[in-house]
Amino acid sequence: MGAGTPSRLTSQAATQEDVVITHEDVDRAHDRVRVSAARAQRGALSKFRLLWLLVGPGILVMLGENDGPSMISYAATGARFGIGFFIPFVILTFCMAIVVQEMTMRLGSATHRGHAELIFVRFGPFWGWFSMIDLGIGNFLTLITEFIAIRAGLGFFGVPPWAAVGSALVFLCLAVMMHRYWTWERTLLAIAAFNLVFVLVALFTHPNWHSVGHALITWKPLPGGLSQDTLIIVLADIGATVTPWMLFFQQSATVDKGLTRKDIHLGRFDTAVGAALAAIAAVATIIATAPLFAHHMTAENFQGAEFAQALQPLIGRFGAALFALGIVEAGMVASVTISISSAYAFGEVARRPHSLNLPVTQGKAFYSVLFLCAATAGAIVLIPGLPLVYVVLLVNVVAVLAMPPALVFLFMLANDREVMGDLVSPRWANILATGVVVFLTLAGLLFGISVIAPNAFAFLSGK
């Protein structure tokens, strides 16, 4: 794959002469000047500066996907299965995430258009609306679970639900009111780095590294074998790593940041580093809750932040508080990235200004969608008696089920020579992407069989 031959879209746009320059353009131009200056200089320091300037969307999307329900899924995995099969399995899911997210970064850098916009203009509104409905429902449900996580995490410290939701909304407002993509990205990256607090919590449990090494090599043990419970955890862990909002978010963020064909190499690095950091945090969470293995804790213990409370006798009040704070951070960061993902998609489809470089006066629709989604999701969490557990369970499963259609759109766009020019996916990337689609579809079907005909499933698994 080269970076030289422009796509047909580029040559069409280049013929236009009447251009309205906006402040969004000016802000992005300032960012690009810094990138060009760093690229022009030689030496290790300049290369590091270039890397620093270009990383962001990949790390954010991966750490953003280590959200509230994801961390709870990993915690439930550790508590239910201990150290074993799921440690290498979670790493495998992050490898799948790299394959998928690399395509969105490449699409964004090559076309300078968001994912929703490309689907609409390339395949028409019929398929575009299907895609948007999937995204809208998935994003909204996920957003609800982020507020559930924030409520649960802050609940550990005695914060009442209304105050937890209110503080999350205030945080969201402060995060996006910087009117500058660069500032927003750096601030959120700093906060998202707190996701690695789960590594510290894992170390507090004094893990058996021999068991971890053995699990990584052998993919064993898998207590209880293949059962419906195992499948739900499998789906939840996949849904904790690859979800539709990630596709839309990273492509739009790549466009908003202003990455170009020249930046694809470092965009890949950004995506891989993000996946590595997120995988470390995910595995650490499994290891951290592995001592609870004998207590048979599941996702049903989510509502009252019992994971942190259950860990307290093992790792002390400080360690448990760190765990609860990690859950809060995961929910906070994801509530921002998922809201922005919805607002980007809305702006792209409705042809309204959509950028974090926009002041509120120029991006009223963008910011309105963002806040409306978040405020509604936050309000739902406060409804008394709402079965929050089912919502959490539902969301990760729905995310996995919605992935194959979203991935096929991505696959077709990444192989569309009219759009991508010579940056179409190479054969190896297509083989890997096809493998991911088949794997996710089969996992979903297996789940369906386990629900509809549990006896047949028991027979298939040899019980």
């Binding site: 236009q16 251009v19 992005r28 131009a29 300078h112 395949f123 200004p353 089912y390 499963v397 194959p404």
Partner: protein, 72 residues
Amino acid sequence: MPSKDKGHSAITSADQELVLSSLEPEQLTGLKKHFIPRRHMKGLEKFVMWSLRIYLLFMMTVVGYQVWIAAH
């Protein structure tokens, strides 16, 4: 020729030069509304997309059933 952002008067000619020299044409907000040719799906592509759509609807029903069972 480039014109000013009508909603904001603070964009100077230096800004315009900076934008035009450092951004690719397609990165300009004003050029993003230009036409992108529609691609019509072929037979196999339509088959795959409809199959996945049916798969999704079916699986959502399964999830709904699972939630109903769990709730009862």
